[in-house]
């Protein structure tokens, strides 16, 4: 089985670029240029330098002793939460902003749900002195006020998406429309492994630094450059794509993707796309998505805004359909329990998204000889209000 993207931008049955003609020129320009630019020596040098000096990489691969004892196994946490701006999102925004600069784009637009990608985008725009416009659902603006303030402080303009359900998917629609209306000077900086080709592949490449570092870190700590299992949460799927990337062809490594079950997949309040979704097209990509029989895209639910997306990246749809990935889910409640547990056992407050990955420990078989890596994609500062409210 081939898990790499093909020339047409497909992972198996999924991917492609299902876009209106108005986007053809922009997407094609990107498709024609991205590999050549990001594989060039000067790009890689600047990218790696910024990841080290500005983002703070490599992030530690931390052996979580007390958590390991509790589950009678060996759990390593890949500490993406220690990145500048508090999550893995910045790996991608650093990469794309360097690409945008090399393509002479002057104006950056992005969509954001919880605001993490918006903050990471506003951050790199401040760093590079580029104009930054962030589209965010009107409802999300209200529930993520601190991140809205951070983006504004960083110099970004936050534009509310007032159409549709006024959340992430609508913010994405608005960003795409902005790009249609401003095709010449504008770069659309997508935050996950979603959207038309080449975005899913490009974002996965920028996030692949996560598994690249894991290889040498595991070698040093365990004498073997691969673990038995890697666990990562999946909304759109960028942190999972990065954590899986260098192990996708190594069948000895079990790739465990954890989706947000929300209130449970038997309810309509869920974001577990592979469980309740069907094949279709969302945001220019053929993938699995939550929709009704008419093809209308339905609203997801998760306590974690970062997983609250009705689709999943085409790579993950392929990993699911081919059976290469193990897809499980964690409910809102299970994620909260896992977050409180990690905080008490290890003194680390995880993001709600990452808590879904942690919750998998209660759902999988593991033993004392195994090495498990959990991608701790972000820190919990942004979720404190929820954690405090739900503590009772």
């Amino acid at each position: 089985m081939n898990y790499k993207i093909n020339e047409q931008g497909f992972y198996g049955d999924f991917g492609g670029a299902f876009i209106p003609e108005m986007l053809y020129h922009n997407v094609n320009e990107l498709k024609e240029n991205y590999l050549q630019i990001i594989e060039s020596d000067d790009f890689q040098e600047e990218f790696k330098d910024l990841l080290k000096e500005y983002v703070g990489r490599p992030t530690p691969l931390y052996f979580a002793k007390r958590l390991s004892e509790k589950y009678n196994t060996n759990v390593f946490l890949k500490r993406e939460d220690l990145n500048h701006t508090g999550a893995h999102k910045i790996n991608n925004t650093i990469g794309q902003i360097l690409l945008a600069k090399r393509m002479n784009k002057k104006r950056i637009i992005a969509e954001t749900g919880a605001g993490q990608h918006g903050v990471a985008t506003a951050t790199v725009c401040a760093l590079m002195n580029l104009k930054c416009i962030i589209y965010m659902g009107e409802i999300d603006i209200k529930r993520q006020a601190p991140n809205v303030a951070r983006m504004k402080m960083l110099g970004a303009e936050v534009r509310p998406a007032t159409s549709g359900s006024k959340t992430l998917k609508d913010a994405t629609n608005e960003a795409i429309r902005d790009w249609i209306a401003n095709p010449e000077d504008t770069y659309y900086l997508i935050g996950s492994v979603v959207g038309p080709h080449p975005y899913p592949d490009m974002v996965a490449r920028f996030q692949s630094i996560i598994s690249e570092e894991m290889k040498s870190q595991l070698m040093a700590k365990t004498g073997r450059d691969y673990p038995d299992k890697i666990i990562a949460c999946v909304g759109g799927g960028s942190n999972a794509a990065g954590a899986f990337y260098h192990y996708i062809d190594n069948e000895k490594v079990e790739l465990i993707a954890v989706e947000a079950d929300g209130l449970g997949i038997e309810t309509d309040k869920t974001a577990a796309t592979t469980q309740v979704g069907t094949e279709g097209i969302i945001h220019g990509s053929k993938t699995l998505l939550m929709q009704n029989s008419e093809g209308q895209i339905t609203e997801p639910h998760s306590i974690s805004a970062g997983l609250d997306y009705p689709g999943v990246g085409p790579l993950h749809a392929h990993l699911f359909k081919s059976g290469r990935g193990t897809f499980i889910g964690a409910t809102d409640k299970e994620a909260l329990t896992a977050a409180y547990q990690l905080t008490k056992l290890e003194g680390i407050i995880p993001a709600l998204e990452s808590s879904h990955a942690l919750a998998a420990l209660d759902k999988i078989e593991c033993n004392s000889t195994e090495n498990i890596v959990i991608n701790l994609s972000g820190r919990g500062d942004k979720d404190m209000e929820t954690y405090i409210r739900m503590m009772q």
Binding site: F18, Y24, R177, H283, E294, G295
Partner: protein
């Protein structure tokens, strides 16, 4: 296929009006289309409401949301068109998004559309190569037309390619914009229309996006066989109960010779 061909062979300054199916009320579409035809509109584009219409602006998206809330479905749209065809003989184009077609089942969708009297389709997010590989044979065998878009950024080479895959007409997107955004036609747009006309394409052309009134319609007609009005008409319908009068008044304002 025949209806579209006849229309372009026999008429000039073609006025194509876009209507969102199921808007403003679920069953208004039949009345609206009948009235449009009575008032001399040459062609109808019926929008299949979609939750995430990337190529449309806020006016059409809002009307789509209303229609979805009203309970519109593809099956209802087909029934409405069947009803419309009892009295209306001008070309009817279905406009919608590829996901809707896929969920219905593409072959079944094209067959059903043919059976109720649809003449062609505009599916903006259907890539040219996917159409060619997966659907062209079916669409052609049913003698239906597939209409593709051209934008100011489309290169001459690509315009020729699109022209070779299209039938019915070419949809000339007038500017860098989503539907319903601009109100005046600029010189740069006219240069772009002239560039397209210089290519001697096989298909006739209709200009859409930013065509909202008599003035923009007339300008568009100087550079193409006609034009498409969408958002401006939907705006006129918003919140209206007196459908017949609203349609008559709107079409009069565009077509009157004064």
């Amino acid at each position: 296929m025949k209806r579209l061909k006849n229309t372009f062979n026999t008429k000039s300054d073609i006025l194509n009006i876009y209507v969102t199916a199921g808007f403003p009320s679920l069953n208004d579409t039949i009345t609206i289309v009948e009235e449009l035809a009575k008032n001399g509109v040459d062609m109808i584009e019926i929008g299949m409401p979609f939750s995430d219409p990337l190529a449309d602006g806020p006016t059409i998206q809002n009307s789509s949301q209303v229609a979805i809330k009203n309970g519109i479905t593809l099956e209802l749209i087909f029934n409405q068109i069947k009803e419309i065809r009892k009295t209306v003989d001008i070309p009817i184009i279905l406009m919608g998004y590829y996901n809707q077609v896929l969920q219905y089942g593409a072959d079944a969708f094209f067959e059903k559309a043919k059976a109720v009297g649809v003449d062609g389709f505009i599916i903006p997010d259907l890539p040219l190569d996917v159409y060619e590989n997966a659907h062209q044979q079916k669409v052609k065998s049913l003698e239906l037309d597939m209409i593709f878009l051209i934008t100011p950024q489309t290169t001459d080479e690509r315009i020729r390619l699109i022209d070779s895959k299209s039938s019915g007409f070419l949809y000339i997107v007038s500017s860098f914009a989503i539907t319903g955004s601009k109100s005046e036609i600029q010189q740069s747009q006219i240069d772009y229309f002239k560039r397209i006309n210089g290519l001697s394409l096989t298909n006739p052309k209709l200009i859409g996006f930013g065509i909202s009134d008599k003035k923009t319609f007339n300008t568009a007609c100087q550079h193409a066989e006609g034009a498409i009005i969408g958002s401006a008409f939907i705006k006129a319908l918003e919140g209206r109960k007196d459908i017949k009068q609203t349609v008559e008044k709107f079409i009069c304002s565009v077509k009157s010779t004064q």
